[in-house]
Structures are given as C-alpha cells and as structure tokens.
C-alpha cells in the first residue's frame, strides 16, 4: 500500500468522522435526563455505563436517575427532569402501563421523550421514538445459525426457556421456532424454564442430559440467555461430554462470560442484545433538533451474531469493563 493510498484512506476516514461530529454538534452542552429501571442484571449495568459513555462522547450533560425497579420513582424522576427544564428525557420503562399522565406533562413542556429498550402502552404522539431490540429476530438469528451449521444432519435440540410468561421468553422461543420451521431434521426435543439464571440453567440441563440417553442424543442446546447457557455448559462438562463439540451451545445476549466460554471452545454462538440503546437514541435526537426530522417511531437495534471467529478474547476484554 503506498503512502498516498494510506493518506487517502486516512483523509476519507477523517471526513467520515467529522461529518458525524458535525451532525451531532448540536447535542453539545444539552442536558438530558435518563430514568433507568435499576441494576437488576449485568446487562442493565452495562446499558447504564454505555449510555453515560455515549453522552460524554457527545458532550451531553446526562442527569441519571436510578428507579430501583419502581415506576413511581421513574415518574418522580421524570417530573423532576421537567421541573429542571432538561432538553430531552430518556426512559427505560419498568412496566408498560401508567405512563400517559407524566408523558403528557413532558409533551406540554415541549420536552422530547425517548423510550429505551422497552415500550409503553401510551399514544404514540406522547414520545419521540422508542429504541429497542427485536426479540423475535434474536431468536430467529440463533435458529438460523443452527440451521446453517447442522445442514441436513439430524439434530435434537433442547431449549432452556426464560421465565415462564415473560415477553423475552415468549418472543425468543417464537423466533427460534420460526427459523427452524421447514427444517424437519431439527426438532426441539425438550423445553423447560431455567428462569434466566445460571443455577437453574445448570439444574435443568442436568435433567435434560439424564432424560436424553446421558446427553448422547442431544445435538444442541438453545438458551434464551447466556447465563443459562453458562450453567448448561457446566452441566454438560459434569456429564463427561464436551460442550461446543458434542453438544453445540447457542444463546442470546452476548455477555462477557459467554465469550470466555467461546475462548475455551465451549460455546458456539451468541446473539447480541446490544447495551448501546443510547447511541441510536442520541442520533435520532440530534436529527430531530437540527431540522425537525421525525425519527421512525420504533428504532430496532441490530441483533448481531457472534461466533468463535469474531475474536472472543477481544470481545471479552472490551465488555468486561462495561459493568456486566
């Protein structure tokens, strides 16, 4: 590569970067209130730290309020933001209902509201946009990976569901089933709830292994989150089998520990639930403030697939610092 091409690439990169920063310069010095649900999971902690980092990068003064899982705290925080006269409000709503009054107050104060990660049951004109992942798509990406990996070979899958009746469990199950529909060689042999936890994931997997001929009949385990997959990996090892080889492991979330398992060859794939909901939210806000561009009402984040080919050690190192 000649010096000139290198320079040209550097120059074009620099232009690309500056164009981003010019577009977002209008956010500098803005005050944005963020009402977070709490810190009930590692993912939530990562979302908080990524949001703070994204705000700092753009020169935004972020007012952070932790609601400790209570809607009344969130409503109080939003009222506080309105009283302070912030320029925009971001909310990760803890429940779907009961938001109309406070959102109307924000609208009357002409403060745009952006919902992160979960939706609400309120008229769409009460908020600017909602940034969230598509959980059905996450399941579909995981299922598609399995379809592509096993090809025509017969494959008995065991499924570790999330908490019974929870939205992510229902959607991630549906997405996976959609992806494997029409591939008769792949069947879900057993499906039980592991409550999204590592210890229940391990216990349920132990049961599955006993029930399926000591695990020899199981070709893959699909877990609705990485924590259950980490538990299942331990159960597979305890049964004298090799996770990742004898039983393939595919899960959703992309938390650091699943990358640590990938480094050891014990996990095969994970679908990312990105903690960066704030980035797209700030981009939408910037465009809206610049020239009044109404963003799409529902911004869907990418559901990226990670396999051991995607530098798991590097992913582990970067993610470990996010507070997962």
């Amino acid at each position: 590569m000649t010096i000139i091409t290198k320079l040209a690439i550097a120059a074009s990169l620099a232009t690309a970067l500056t164009s981003v920063s010019i577009a977002q310069d209008n956010l500098k010095g803005l005050v944005v209130g963020f009402s977070q649900i709490g810190s009930e999971s590692g993912w939530r902690a990562a979302e908080t730290s990524v949001t703070k980092a994204q705000a700092e990068e753009r020169g935004i003064d972020l007012k952070f309020a932790d609601a400790q899982q209570k809607q009344e705290n969130q409503i109080k925080a939003i009222r506080g933001f309105i009283a302070q006269g912030v320029d925009a409000i971001m909310v990760a709503p803890v429940v779907a209902t009961g938001w109309e009054d406070v959102l109307t107050e924000a609208k009357e104060a002409e403060i745009p509201v952006i919902l992160l990660d979960r939706g609400v049951d309120a008229p769409e004109d009460l908020y600017l946009t909602s940034v969230a992942s598509d959980q059905v798509k996450e399941g579909r990406v995981a299922g598609q990976w399995l379809v592509d990996t096993v090809g025509d070979a017969d494959c008995k899958v065991v499924e570790l569901q999330g908490t019974v009746g929870s939205t992510p469990a229902i959607n991630r199950k549906q997405g996976f089933e959609e992806a494997i529909a029409g591939h008769d060689n792949i069947t879900i042999a057993r499906s039980q709830t592991g409550d999204f936890t590592r210890s229940k994931g391990k216990e349920v997997m132990e049961g599955f292994i006993k029930a399926e001929n000591g695990g020899k009949d199981i070709c893959a385990v699909y877990a609705h989150n990485d924590d259950m997959a980490v538990g299942a990996i331990q159960a597979i090892k305890d049964a004298g089998l090799k996770p990742g080889t004898d039983i393939k492991v595919v899960s959703i979330d992309a938390v650091p520990d699943i990358f640590a398992a990938m480094v050891n060859g014990e996990a095969n794939a994970t679908v990312e639930l990105t903690p960066n909901m704030a980035g797209p939210a700030f981009d939408a806000l910037s465009a809206y403030l610049a020239d009044g561009t109404e963003p799409a009402k529902f911004i869907i984040t990418e559901s990226k697939l990670y396999t051991p080919a995607d530098n798991p050690q590097g992913e582990y190192d970067t993610r470990k610092g996010l507070g997962y």
Partner: protein, 334 residues
C-alpha cells in the same frame, strides 16, 4: 417409649418421598439408573440429593427457628451475601479457606443480628428477619457491584461440584451438618429448651431457661446454615449471582420444615424430617424436569403434590384408618 412414637410419626414423610419417587420412576423409567462416571455417581436420583442439598441445609437451621415459634425470612438473602463474599474474596486473591471462613462469619453475624432483633429488642420474627431479606440482596449487589462474579479457584469449586466417596459434596455437607446439629440438640438439653420456648416462652423463662441466649443461638445457627448453603450454591455455578442466588429459597426451606412435620406454632420439631422434606421438594422438581412436561405446568404440579402431602399429614386424613384418632395426634401433626 417416646422414641417409638416419634418413629411412627415419620411415616407420612417417608411415604410421601417414596410416593414422589415412584411417580418419577413411572414417568421416567430410568430415574434410578445410577452409573459411575469420572469418579462419581451419576444419575437422576443423585441429582435429587445434590440439588436438594442447599434447601436441606437451610431447612436444618430453619427447623430450630420455627421450633421456637419464629421464622427466618432472610436466609435466601444471606445466601446471596455470603456467596458474594466468598466469590469476591477468592477473585481478590485470598485463599479459598479464608474466603469460606469469612463468608461463614458474615452469615453468623447476619444470624446474630436477626437474633438480636428478636431476642433482645423483642421484634416479631417475621418483621425482624424481613429487614435482612430486603436489605441483604442489596448488600450482596453492593459487594458484587451488580454483576456475576465468576471465579476459577479449584478448592472453592470443589465445595459445590466435588465428590466424596462418589457422592456429591453438597449432599455430603448436608448430611454431616444434619447429623451434627441433630446430635447437638438431641444429646444435650438444648433441643428440649428450644421446644419449651416454642410452646411457651414466658413459662420457659420462669422455669429458668435462658430464652434470650437460646433464641440468639437458633437464629445464629440459621444464619450459619444459610452461609454454608450460599457458598455451596456459588461454588456450584462458579460465580456469585447476587440477584438470583437463593431467591425464594426461604420459602422452600419453610415448606421443607412444614412437610417435615414441624409446627409453625413452635414446639415439637425434627431436623432429619425437615431434610426429608427438602428431598421431597427436590424429587418433585427433578421429576418435572425429566418427565418432559411443558414448563407452564411446573408450579401447578408442584402445588398439587404439596397439597396432597400436607393433607396426608392432617390428623383428620388418618381418621378412617385409626382406632383412636384425633385427640392424641392433634398437637403433634399439623
């Protein structure tokens, strides 16, 4: 004479366990197949022993508390705190034995705090232990900083996943603890004193029993048991999960004690029966897992079985089969 009667009372629990295991065997014929693998027994029945151990350990401590007419709601949260302490200490580089001792000390301190509230400040046990039940999980989250602290220390992991003579370490710990505590309360007068306090604390005090001291002792023991269970659970998954470790296990422990025939009104108690109660609960859980029922049925099946077991223990259920019913048994089995 008295011993013989106690043996007879054991029947409903043993029957229930045999019944649940028989149902498991019918639903899943290889339930009792146990093979030898990597230097340990391997099979569904071994899973029941291994997975039932944490609740059994909690139930051992809980029995003493319930026998004094109290209840300890904080054990699940104490598990989370102690697991977090052990995990963060080994990650920080302390040797495993030190980390475990520190975790047990923290559990003991939590138990003494509960005992102080109940015995000295005379707060009702359900309220006193509610304090730590709510706050404990927050403390655990502070220790782990909200994330799952994963560790790789082989000696700490051994506590949760190792084996002794082929049996899972967790089950061995539970059995040893059961024997020690049973000897402590049955070979000394402590058991009798606990029973006396449970029946009538004022009368027991008047009779010269140091009731404050004994209440502190039972709550401290419960905290210690919770700490052991917390370390076992953390070692099992090689990580301290502050949000989920021991979540709702206090209810399973209370249920195990009640299935074991100890009355919530205090008085008569049996530690081995409470451990048996924990095994019954786990036999149901494992049975549901291997049977292949859809998960939506889990709680319904469990609830149905528990109602059945409790009905079996009702003195009135035995009426048609006995010559001299209710009166003699009523105080004992409720």
């Amino acid at each position: 004479m008295r011993r013989l009667r106690l043996e007879r009372l054991a029947n409903p629990q043993l029957l229930a366990l045999v019944g649940v295991l028989a149902i498991n065997w019918l639903l899943f014929p290889s339930f009792f197949n146990v093979t030898w693998q990597d230097g340990r027994f391997f099979g569904s029945f071994i899973d029941v022993l291994n997975r039932g151990a944490p609740v059994a350990i909690l139930a051992i401590g809980m029995t003493g508390v319930i026998a004094t007419k109290g209840v300890d709601l904080s054990v699940g949260a104490i598990m989370a705190v102690c697991g977090a302490v052990a995990a963060t200490m080994v990650v920080a580089g302390y040797p495993a034995p030190i980390a475990v001792i520190a975790a047990l000390a923290v559990g003991l301190a939590c138990g003494l705090w509960n005992g102080f509230l109940v015995a000295v400040l005379d707060i009702q046990p359900i309220v006193a232990t509610l304090v730590l039940m709510v706050a404990g999980r927050g403390i655990a989250q502070l220790i782990t900083e909200g994330s799952i602290v994963t560790f790789n220390d082989p000696s700490l992991i051994f506590v949760g996943t190792g084996s002794f003579l082929g049996f899972p370490m967790a089950a061995v710990i539970a059995v040893v603890l059961m024997v020690l505590v049973t000897l402590l309360v049955r070979r000394t007068a402590i058991g009798l004193f606990i029973q006396a306090i449970g029946v009538n604390r004022a009368a027991a005090s008047l009779a010269g029993i140091h009731s404050r001291m004994l209440l502190m002792l039972v709550y401290a023991l419960s905290g210690l048991c919770a700490a052991i269970a917390g370390v076992v659970v953390a070692a099992d998954i090689r990580g301290a999960d502050a949000n989920n470790a021991g979540l709702w296990l206090e209810l399973d422990a209370i249920l195990a004690v009640v299935i074991g025939g100890t009355s919530l009104l205090g008085g008569r108690f049996s530690i081995p029966m409470a451990v048996l109660g924990a095994l019954i609960i786990q036999a149901m859980n494992t049975g549901i897992l291997v049977s292949g029922f859809p998960p939506e049925f889990n709680l319904v099946v469990k609830a149905g079985m528990i109602i059945l077991i409790l009905l079996l223990q009702s003195p009135y259920a035995a009426l048609p089969f006995k010559r001299r019913p209710a009166a003699s048994n009523k105080s004992a089995s409720s």
